[in-house]
């Protein structure tokens, strides 16, 4: 294929990606060093209230935004260097917390709180998803052929459901005296409220994510299981390998590329955990990095959006992505160079 034809085929797609992914990245990078504020001026205002004999007048200095001829506030954009990053990271408080040896002080700061949750969420759900997915795939592979179709249908439901709705559906089972909370209360005889402290919410979030992603792992492992070499399995049986040894030494190595694939996809998706926070309404207790950026961007009570802080936190989130992708990208690059020779 000539370069010109290739460019014609790929052009529209590349154009869209450059315009809507690469360009925003650059603009976020620039914004994170800038602050846009309305220009304020000090005006002397005389307010008079009617009184007996004479009016009572007071003059005071007020700070008001400067308006242009259309009545809109004029804003100015200044370069502030790393100020927005400092506002997000609050390193001075972190060092204070470190010197006091107090973990809780650091966890008071939104960014570090979000980072802690995002990382533990990503790393804890990863083995669970792979384990549960593999277990379901093995069990379905054991089942009679006739019921496999319906089981796959039911398994796909948690995967396909809108994430916000999925987390809401679990939230409604536990909220207040929802049936599952009521059931646990009957068993334990104590009063339980699942949404009053951080760790119970986090548990529910882990559960939700495993519930949501395990079907994806299951379908892929199930497809992988269909291609396991039966001869190898049989020779393992002849060599006296137990069922567990066969799983460990024949099946898992066969599925290894798929496990790596799922782990990679899962790391990417978990790192941007967001919908759970909305669905479980956990802002007060648990937040994630992507939610932090989202929160800066939603207008506050005065209608202002903290764009520069959002950009700074977005850039800090990006650093994590770089770490996440370095290893797989290095591997792909080596494979590519290897295949070229």
């Amino acid at each position: 294929m000539k370069f010109k034809t290739f460019a014609a085929f790929v052009g529209p797609s590349v154009f869209m990606m450059l315009l809507f992914i690469a360009a925003p990245l650059v603009s976020v990078f620039i914004q994170s060093f800038q602050v846009t504020q309305p220009i304020l001026q000090q005006v002397e205002v005389e307010t008079c209230t009617p009184g007996f004999l004479t009016q009572t007048c007071t003059t005071e200095m007020k700070t008001v935004p400067v308006l242009d001829e259309n009545g809109k506030t004029i804003t100015e954009t200044r370069w502030v260097g790393l100020q927005s990053y400092k506002n997000v990271l609050q390193m001075d408080k972190v060092w204070e917390g470190v010197s006091n040896g107090s973990w809780n002080d650091i966890m008071q700061i939104d960014f570090w709180r979000a980072l802690r949750f995002t990382l533990s969420f990503t790393l804890l759900t990863l083995p669970l998803v792979i384990g549960v997915g593999l277990a379901i795939a093995l069990a379905v592979n054991n089942a009679t052929r006739a019921i496999r179709g319906p089981i796959i249908f039911i398994s796909l439901l948690p995967f396909i459901i809108t994430p916000v709705i999925g987390s809401l559906s679990i939230y409604w089972l536990f909220v207040g005296d929802g049936i599952l909370t009521a059931m646990m209360e009957r068993w334990t005889g104590t009063n339980i409220s699942m949404f009053a402290q951080a760790w119970t919410i986090e548990l529910l979030m882990y559960f939700y994510r495993v519930w949501h992603v395990a079907p994806f792992a299951f379908v892929i492992f199930y497809a992988g299981l269909q291609t396991v070499n039966m001869d190898t399995l049989e020779s393992a049986v002849i060599d006296g390998a137990s069922r567990w040894e066969r799983l460990r030494h024949v099946i898992v190595p066969h599925l290894m590329p798929l496990i790596i694939f799922i782990a990679l996809i899962h790391l990417m998706d978990c790192y941007r955990v967001f919908e759970e926070i909305v669905g479980f309404r956990s802002q007060a207790h648990v937040i994630s990095l992507q939610w932090l950026t989202y929160d800066f961007m939603t207008p506050d009570d005065a209608g202002n959006r903290a764009i520069s802080r959002a950009s700074a936190s977005a850039m800090l989130t990006m650093i994590g992505i770089v770490f996440l992708l370095i290893l797989p990208l290095r591997r792909t690059w080596r494979d590519h160079k290897g295949s070229a020779h």
Binding site: A8, S13, F20, I21, N142, I220
Partner: protein
């Protein structure tokens, strides 16, 4: 085919694997079916502490909304026959009445017509018929199961949820069509070109795939809000404000979806033998003619699968649509967040549940119809990595 004796499994193993499977199915389906049940009950029943009260709905029944045994039997029979009809007779009807070139349009039309007819019969005709029958049939006709559709009526009627539904459909349809059009061309180009550039484009797409969406939205937001001032030098006075425009959101979602789409379509096109378009090229077609006449007729399975995933992305999105659309153009998923803020009474809560079930129902149908394509799409992505 009989399994060799050494490979046969002990009874205990089969039992435990079967139990595990049953447990997983319960776990997978339970939250979804439970909210579906809750949405049909009055608030007292929906948030009752005992599961049995939620299922039977005594308070709902006390309000006079309930189904008798007769209702349930006849309703289930109608449901069964209408579903069977949809799978056995409907495809034939679509094929006979549809002009050959427009089979997709024919299917869309047929499905919409079927849905309207089903709603009319099930919610319009059936209650009218069953009312008098219940009143004359004694104990069989007394309500035993509390059930009410008032929350759905409130959500879709009073709260005008259909506006959000239409917006969702607009955004989703836009995302699917544009991203497939753009993505098919790119996927084909990437699959047939072995150059280094193609490799780097794919790696770049992989990196873009990993970006959190909020990072991108942080880039769009200031530009979209001020776009009429920024674009004025180019478009003059009519420069649009992109913030709140559905088509701007479509463009954004298409771009976000591109990396995934081109990876997936590339792997599908690689499975189509290159000899096919080479033969067309030998016969004197240009690359585009070969694509249009030879590849397009055989690419539909892959395109449908990829389209399903684009649909899911557009339909399920919360972050982008909630930040870039204003209240009038809001889609369904962010609109449901509006219910939380209002959610003061339990009636509001059950209405939120009903809205959530309304959002889930189309997805449920989607899995029912396209299960095979979804599974093949998931595995195709994995095999090619």
């Amino acid at each position: 085919m009989s399994t060799p004796k050494a490979m046969q499994q002990s009874f205990a193993l089969r039992l435990s694997s079967g139990t595990f499977l049953a447990f997983w199915c319960l776990l997978a389906a339970f939250p979804i079916f439970w909210i579906a049940i809750m949405s049909f009950k009055s608030p007292v029943d929906a948030f009752a502490a005992s599961p049995w009260a939620v299922i039977t709905g005594p308070a709902t029944r006390a309000n006079g909304d309930g189904l008798s045994i007769l209702d349930i039997i006849i309703g289930l029979a109608v449901l069964y026959f209408s579903i069977r009809w949809a799978f056995t007779k409907l495809p034939g009807l679509v094929k006979t009445f549809c002009p050959p070139g427009l089979i997709v349009l024919g299917w869309v039309f047929g499905a919409v017509l079927y849905a309207v007819a089903f709603i009319l019969v099930f919610f319009g005709l059936l209650p009218l018929l069953l009312g008098p029958i219940n009143s004359i049939s004694g104990p069989l006709g007394t309500p035993v199961l509390g059930l009410t559709t008032e929350h759905y009526v409130a959500v879709w009627g009073e709260n005008e949820f259909y506006r959000n539904f239409l917006n969702s459909m607009l955004v989703t349809a836009g995302v699917v069509t544009v991203s497939l059009t753009v993505g098919t061309l790119a996927g084909y180009g990437l699959a047939r070109s072995g150059s280094d550039l193609a490799f780097w484009l794919l790696i770049l797409a992989l990196v873009f795939r990993a970006l959190p969406h909020s990072v991108l939205v942080a880039g769009y937001l200031p530009v979209f809000i001020n776009s009429s001032e920024i674009l004025r030098p180019i478009f003059g006075e009519g420069a649009p404000t992109l913030y709140g425009q559905p088509w701007a959101v479509i463009a954004v979602l298409v771009a976000i979806n591109q990396p995934f789409t081109i990876w997936m379509l590339r792997s599908f096109f690689q499975n189509i033998p290159a000899e096919l378009d080479e033969a067309a090229r030998v016969d004197g077609c240009s690359h585009f003619q070969a694509f249009r006449r030879v590849i397009m007729p055989v690419m539909w399975p892959g395109v449908i699968t990829t389209g399903l995933f684009s649909f899911l992305l557009g339909y399920n999105d919360f972050l982008v649509t909630s930040l870039l659309l204003d209240a009038q153009n809001q889609t369904m998923v962010p609109a449901i967040a509006g219910y939380f803020n209002r959610e003061t009474t339990t009636t509001d809560q059950v209405e939120a549940v009903a809205a959530a079930v309304s959002i889930t129902a189309p997805l449920f149908l989607l899995v029912m119809v396209f299960q095979r394509q979804i599974v093949s799409g998931l595995t195709a992505g994995a095999v090619k990595g």
